[in-house]
Amino acid sequence: MEKLKFESIESKSENNIYDKEKFSPEKAKEYVDDLTSKFKDFYSSIGYNEEPSVQISSGIDPTVRFIGSHISVFKHYLIGDNVINPGVFMEQPCIRTRNADKLLDDSFSPQWGSYFLSIGTLASPDRLKEACNEAFDFFERKLGIARENLLIRINSADEDLMETCRERCDNDNLEIDTQKPEYYRHKIGEKGITGRNFNIALRNPNGAGFADVGNIIVLENSEKKLGIETALGTSVILKQLYGLDHVQDCNPVIGLEKIKDQMMRRKFEDSIITSTILLSEGLRPFGGSARNRLLKKYMNSLIYFKDKSGLDMHELQTIISEFEKKEIVDSDKSISNYMIEYIKALEGDKK
């Protein structure tokens, strides 16, 4: 099978305030691994314990179909009111399926990919100030981001959060009450547990404006704080640092660059990435459960975009195979084979 190479798209690095090199899609995984590794090194060095990641389709959190955040893995600490001191950290592959129903809508332009890697921590409830400072230290000291390029979006009603942030940040770094109230509030799918958050944004690499890359959340019940969560997205951080066109550039599907319609390309990418990841976890596009049906939906989208883009089955298999080799750790390299077989079978179903 021929090896695919990126033909033309390389994100621009002109006027990058973070002084980053040009982002190479061929090395995208290395950038993600480097950021994740810095995160883990940092929290490990200050005494946090690492929590192992779980399969996205593991079903360990019955309130969601797929793991969409590391909080699903941390929940047992909150429910048992036994968050350890100083805290735990983890990296967690996630899928959020908000795109699934709209992929076949030609007017829908997805801002996010379904698949992403979340990195996060859960600190003990008495460590609000420390947990916030640790997150700021991670950005400023570990990633080398100047404070002027950080922005805190915060609600003045959250006095404890305000007090903590004011100790660390200048007025220039604080954006107070600019968002709708729900922006500062969180739910985690557990009755009686709610969250109050402020968001952390990074300046756009061209210097104009900011975009959110994560948040710090006080999780509590009606009586007390239960834990302090820091939630960060690797792809949104890298998008800001390197000026990527889209978060999906962190998991590029090599071979789709020739598709000129960028909206279609992003949705095609999303279908391939999500289908491959879920198949690699052992989920299959048949069976009555909602999770199986969601996978089938992504695979039907994949067929739609294959036809629309004019790719033949061989080209598609080459593209999926390259993605599998690059992204799936311990793959036996067979996912692309049976994905093509499933595609043929699903196409047969439609005839």
């Binding site: 052992g282 048949f286 047969g348």
Partner: protein, 332 residues
């Protein structure tokens, strides 16, 4: 109802792989020395290294052994890191005694190929239902002793358990129903056979099933397979008769999720069963639930030889129309 577990694919085997022989149904002691040595030599020709569970020679008045002994051998075979795959000695009647004693977590954490047929249907389906691990309905250890007419069986064992690629299940050029283990030289091979297309159509799904009466013994238990989007494979032995097969099939149809069955493959019947294509068509036609389910019978698996190796929990697509049959094992 059991939820369908995520598929766990066992690592494929190859030359130098270590196969553990265990006897979860009847005992190794039941085999003649010729059969035992014939199987050992054939498997060694394929490059496999063999070892035997320590209780395989134990034999009681049921030609089997104690539950503890059989469970011990099964667990040891899965937990031993040096073992790559497991073959069962032969079928029997009592595998379902083991089900509540099997450590399914141990199996989930140490996934490997396990292959056998007939009574092994019970273990193969229970393991798949409880863990998601693909298991295999195919030759027993004893089957490998067959001197003539085993090439097709070996070819499909390799396709399923050694290779990774999807493959088509072709109809064998000849078959036989001889008691080969009694007289290896007195064999009758029948040619000019073909698939019986009982209902046309196409389907794709997850393979479940095996020996019908063994499968039916799982109904109503926690070891029963979810039938959503399934391809049901059914085979029987010489003890079956057309009316008895009808009853067993009807019993499956009464499962609450039978509507999830997308297609059915029926293995070739033994001569003694007196099943014919005409009788089978008649049985199928009495069941309105099957009217839109593609069904292909006289397929090469079960108690006649040769027998293909089919992955329980794997994926199969089938197409049957205008005398044209395509059975494709997609994932195994």
């Amino acid at each position: 109802m059991n939820k369908i577990k995520n598929t766990i694919k066992p690592k494929k085997i190859g030359k130098g792989s270590h196969i553990r022989i265990i006897a979860p149904a009847r005992s190794l002691k039941l085999l003649s020395e010729d059969v035992k040595m014939g199987a050992i030599n054939k498997l060694k020709e394929y490059g496999f290294e063999l070892s035997f569970g320590k209780n395989t020679m134990e034999m009681d008045e049921f030609n089997s052994s104690s539950i503890d002994s059989r469970i011990e051998d099964l667990h040891e075979a899965f937990s031993d890191k040096d073992v790559d795959a497991i073959l069962t000695v032969i079928g029997g009647y009592n595998c379902n005694q083991l089900l509540q004693y099997i450590d399914y977590d141990l199996i989930r954490k140490n996934p490997k190929i396990i292959c056998g047929f007939s009574d092994i249907t019970v273990i193969a389906n229970a393991i798949n239902a409880k863990t998601g691990l693909i298991t295999y309905i195919g030759p027993h250890f004893s089957s490998w002793a067959m001197k003539y007419g085993f090439e097709y069986s070996a070819e499909y064992f390799v396709k399923s358990c050694v290779n990774n690629n999807p493959f088509n299940l072709e109809h064998s050029k000849e078959w036989s129903d001889d008691p080969w283990f009694i007289d290896q030289e007195k064999r009758e091979f029948i040619k000019d056979d073909k698939y019986w297309i009982l209902n046309e159509g196409n389907a794709i799904g997850r393979i479940i099933g095996g020996h019908v009466r063994c499968l039916n013994s799982l109904q109503g238990t926690e070891y029963w397979q979810n039938m959503d989007d399934s391809i049901l494979i059914l085979e029987e032995d010489a003890e079956i008769s057309p009316p008895l097969f009808d009853r067993q099939l009807q019993s499956l149809i009464h499962q609450s999720d039978f509507s999830g069955v997308k297609g059915i493959l029926i293995g070739r019947f033994q001569k003694e069963s007196k099943m014919s294509e005409e009788l089978l068509v008649k049985i199928i036609k009495t069941k309105k639930e099957l009217s839109s389910v593609p069904i292909i019978a006289n397929v090469d698996f079960g108690h006649t030889t040769p027998l293909a190796t089919l992955p329980i929990g794997g994926t199969l697509s089938l197409l049957a129309e205008n005398d044209n049959v395509n059975i494709r094992i997609i994932e195994h």
